[in-house]
Chain length 501, copies 3
């Protein structure tokens, strides 16, 4: 391996110059000395990510220049560019040495105070508005909202734990360890990353000391970082290219939203919108900021409807950019037992229904109104979404579509109620043991059938109606299963009752 001056290495490796002239013809983009030091070793040690960074926008612009980009094109939301960062491209050191004192994982590394886990607070130096919005996004709270909810915690234990069988054939549940939940629910929801010590490792360069992190690696959307912040930007803006083209690609959302509990991507893929993206999306421009409908793209991706700043060809704003992803959503249609208006607060810890359960509805469906947005706010959010629809569709089309969605919410809630009534009957009869008898609601077969009714089937049917991907709302985890499962739960109970009598 060769270790020479970084720019020279990169020039030879990547055949392009890091010193570039920008569009205005004047500024010279330069790498900071600190980043240059990083690259000296990491071009060899981790060549993939160096090359990856090199392809991205961070390697070709500086905060100082970004600050002067006019408003709709601008991706930088801070009011000033910190002096020490302003004139350099956004390289390794610019992110990995920021806010050093607040990072619990900061360690001395070749003369620099470096941290492994770049957090939203680091990104907020240049992108404060996005960070604030995201802090109010349900996703930023995904770790605690799941792990700290007493009811859902029992689901995680039942799903991820192991079972052992004793000599009499009785099953015993054992709770999962951290490595298991990190590889399952918390892969998407986020782990809590903590420093539990330091270790010295020998490598090609020298003996070096690194922090020992628990919950690592992880890129969950609600990760709890060593600086105490919640969330991660990298699930969507993947390291180290940070490509907006990628963030706007539905496959990015699919990483967490494809399985039967949240089949958004799968439903999208059988919608006309998804069809147009798959067939003709190759001709689109997914890099443009602002994003102009008709010119840059001809059908929505996930980002168009839920996140992006969208304009029409006349420069009229169709939707403002938001990283609080329910800003354009009236109802929460997945994850909980019944569809319901979105919660007011992204941190759902305080929610209790009238029965005292940590749920936004009763087990029989009535909403816990005080914790949920009111009708005015529901209509505001729905209007924001419909404004996107109306760029291509007439008012009757859009009204008809939402009528189908509202009907679907009502009927799937009814089918969940039917399953819940059967479930409660089983609990009442002692054929299964639920929360009322201090037992898990998720560790018996009939309880899983009940949970599939809402967590898989009702969810899928609602997504299919919301996104007009009907092929996945009938037979693929859809209405077929919603109605079959209610019958099957009923039969199962009849057979179990008979077997146990």
């Amino acid at each position: 391996m060769r270790y020479s001056h970084t720019n020279t290495i990169l020039l030879s490796l990547l055949a392009i110059s890091l010193i570039t002239v920008n569009a205005s013809g004047s500024d010279i983009m330069v790498v900071s000395e600190a980043t240059s030091d990083c690259l000296t070793c990491h071009a060899s040690a981790t060549p993939g990510i160096v090359a990856n960074w090199y392809r991205g926008r961070h390697a070709e612009t500086s905060p100082g220049r970004a600050l002067h980009t006019p408003a709709p094109q601008r991706r930088f939301s801070a009011e000033t560019a910190p002096a020490e960062l302003a004139d350099f491209v956004v390289g390794c050191a610019e992110c990995h040495t920021l806010n050093a004192p607040t990072h619990g994982d900061t360690f001395e590394h070749n003369g620099y105070q470096v941290h492994t886990v770049v957090s939203p607070e680091d990104c907020a130096v240049c992108h404060p508005q996005e960070r604030l919005e995201y802090a109010d996004n349900l996703m930023a709270h995904a770790c605690g909202n799941l792990n700290n909810n007493a009811l859902y915690h029992t689901m995680m234990e039942a799903v991820n734990g192991t079972v052992s069988v004793d000599d009499d054939g009785a099953l015993t549940h054992l709770p999962p360890g951290d490595a298991t939940t990190a590889a399952s629910c918390n892969y998407c929801h986020g782990t809590k990353i903590e420093v539990v010590g330091f270790e010295t490792r020998e490598n090609d360069f020298d003996d070096m000391t690194f922090p020992i992190l628990t919950g690592w690696p992880n890129r969950g959307v609600g990760r709890i970082n060593p600086d105490g912040s919640m969330g991660a930007c990298t699930p969507c803006h993947a390291r180290h290219q940070f490509s907006i083209e990628m963030a706007r690609d539905p496959h990015t959302c699919a990483e967490c939203h494809k399985g039967p509990d949240v089949p958004a991507y799968k439903v999208y893929s059988v919608s006309k919108h998804g069809n147009i993206f798959a067939a003709l999306g190759k001709d689109w421009d997914r890099e443009a900021v602002p994003w102009t409908l008709g010119r840059d793209f001809t059908a929505p991706t996930c980002a168009v409807c839920h996140i992006s700043l969208v304009q029409d060809a006349e420069g009229e704003t169709v939707a403002t950019r938001t990283h609080r992803m329910n800003d354009r959503l009236s109802d929460r249609i997945f994850g909980l037992i019944y569809a319901h208006p979105h919660p007011k607060d992204a941190n759902t810890a305080a929610i209790r229904n009238a029965s005292g359960l940590p749920l936004p509805t009763e087990l029989t469906g009535e909403p816990a109104t005080e914790f949920l947005i009111d009708e005015d706010e529901r209509q505001n959010r729905r209007s924001a979404m419909q404004n996107v629809c109306l760029s291509c569709h007439s008012t009757p089309w859009v009204m008809g579509h939402f009528e189908q969605l509202d009907t679907t919410i009502a009927t799937t809630n009814q089918m969940t109620l039917a399953a819940t009534q059967i479930m409660m009957q089983a609990w009442d009869e002692g054929l299964a043991h639920g929360p009322a008898s201090d037992s898990s609601a998720f560790d018996e077969t009939i309880e899983r059938m009940w949970a599939e009714q809402w967590l898989f089937y009702a969810n899928t049917v609602r997504f299919a109606a919301a996104m007009a991907g009907a092929d996945y709302g009938v037979f693929e985890n859809g209405r077929w299963h919603l109605s079959k499962n209610a019958q099957a739960m009923n039969d199962w109970l009849i057979m179990l009752r008979a077997a146990k009598r």
Copy 2:
């Protein structure tokens, strides 16, 4: 918003001229005055679809010019171009004001007689041959063939309806409303669109009156339109770009043919053909007419085998274009209880088996021969398909492939028979209640297991054999489930019988 002369708006918005010179160097393509009037408002009101249309062929050619395109390149099948359309690009008004008197949804709109729902009769002005073929296509009859079939109607009710549970735990089925079936089965099969009144709405421009449509929005393949016609061209030729590249993309077919009942796309995706498309299709030309194998594409998509005009590099016709999609198919391998020769008539309303049921076979599999194509016609259609195969594969390869398919049809029919015999036993014993006792054949658990045997598993296995996508014919809804389900039905019956004794 600015409202100036349309061409000026579009020039500024889209940065390309609507007045273009065609390949022959002489004709000037112009927008009709009516379309120009539409664009004046709609460039702002619905900018997405205007931009979309602008990208398509309709915005850059006129019927008059299309008429003079020589035969194999020609996409226009009328013998003449109507005088009032001949010299203008095919814009908004050209389609949305055609045949005004016959459209039940025609309304006065800024001085024009406009209709919302463009029907196959409108498309037929320029594309009469495609429209005639499609009228004979099973898909054009998809609404009535499903909704008016007494047996399948009960399936729709059981699948889409809701269930309520009374205090004794008994389940009651409630039939689905129109908004529900529109969001499920009829999303693909098609709704019946009717005008049920008119309403006046205030918008950015003025108070305007619009028809109130039931069954709207819908783009089902068998949609019943306000002019009485059946079918829609837009499910495949999506508005408003009408891209042939898109129609030839398998993702277009996937919108309706991906779920477990018709997993054509999923099976294709694990076939070698689908693999080549996914890996190398980016280098193909999916726009070319005629479509030349080897040069324009190197493996079939859905359209190659089932629809398109395909030539070889010498200009020999490999397959003639057809929009009657079973022209190259001998057997109907999905949707019905048993695989059987294709029905003679695309309208299957008249079909009755010997038992009087509206089915093309007996419940025990024997075909209702008089309604089905005979052996000669089966061979003709199969030969048409094999002619496509033989462009790349040797005769022994093709014969071997079809032997595997025929064996698969026979064995999946046998596995369906086994399941049906178990089902009949349940009906006979009163453990379930079927048509013979005037009860639905689809509202009990064991009945759903029976239906999955043919509707999911036998279908999937046949598709896997027909399209050589074996990975989805064994474990993914395939043979594994076909054999497991027969056993499970048997066990279920044993357990149910015991529970009820």
Copy 3:
């Protein structure tokens, strides 16, 4: 049809010259007389594959030229180029007349001794190293390892066979025929192709005699060819373009590795790696040899981790090319009942566990150590894989990832053990009939539930951990089902016991 000199036909058909000048400016690439004779008819008879071949590298280089390509760029691994092949492009005759005496399917065809089935021995003339590696690959033995394993043979019979129901409702299993297994398991695993006679067929040219092949068509990875060799190169290097770009595309692996038994592609598609490929892979160079990370691609595909020669931008080797695909894999995580260290020998015929079953572990999980690689070799292989990971990820990241994988292997093995204990209890009680009573372990409902525990759910969870695609390791055939299924087996047994008492 026209039949003139081949080059002329092709020039007119494909509009490019077969006589090309290579990069060094000197050599002329020419078609052999034999291949020219083939093309004379086949350009018309099977135009698709001729055009396909024409697009590939074989049509534009010769063994003689390939021999002189320097090492890392070289794709030709022979030490010499046979004189009769050296100066011609690799056309029809070069492969289909090679090694004629050893091919059982050789037949006289217009003056040439031609064989239909090109085998790895033919490819080995130019690619001997790849052929040797592949001969040691489990995939080359996929036909025998499945079909000749007594236990798995009973699974194939139960899955693929048919069931008939007698008048008393009893089910009888009938074994599958060869056409059925060829269309199911052996589509991927490979058939045995044998010549069972010859037949004369009339075609456009003349009466011709061709061999009658059983097990044809087939492109299974472990195909047994008429020359006695095992394997096929074409499942990944698809005829007749033989594109390396395609072999490196994950959709190629998906043809066999997408279903619930081996969901590698599905898991990859929801990993961050798969996400980057889907969103940004269009900008990669999948043709380059050697393949340089960061420059040619920015995230691994299947080939990067398992097969390809990978370098970094400095020319350092990250991974050496191998066609023995477990060279970088420590543990076999799918297909068998428990995850275990990889077998020493790709031919697993000799493996017997302590109970005498043809399995690499006991039914209760203990490994049959003497047939499996030892701990040193496990670590060697794992290090080879980790070297790829470390190109982009830090040591703590990689160690943390593999800790999650090892935990997942342990917990999925425990969940399989629990299901097996329930299964054994059923066998002991006579509620099901297994190997101990000379009955199939796969033909009863509870046995299928047991098999799904390891063949679908444990496999899927392990793939999700191995490839960091957690969304498909929880709800989509993942941990949810692993824990639900154990409960459901238990309930099923309770209900079956009660029904049979």
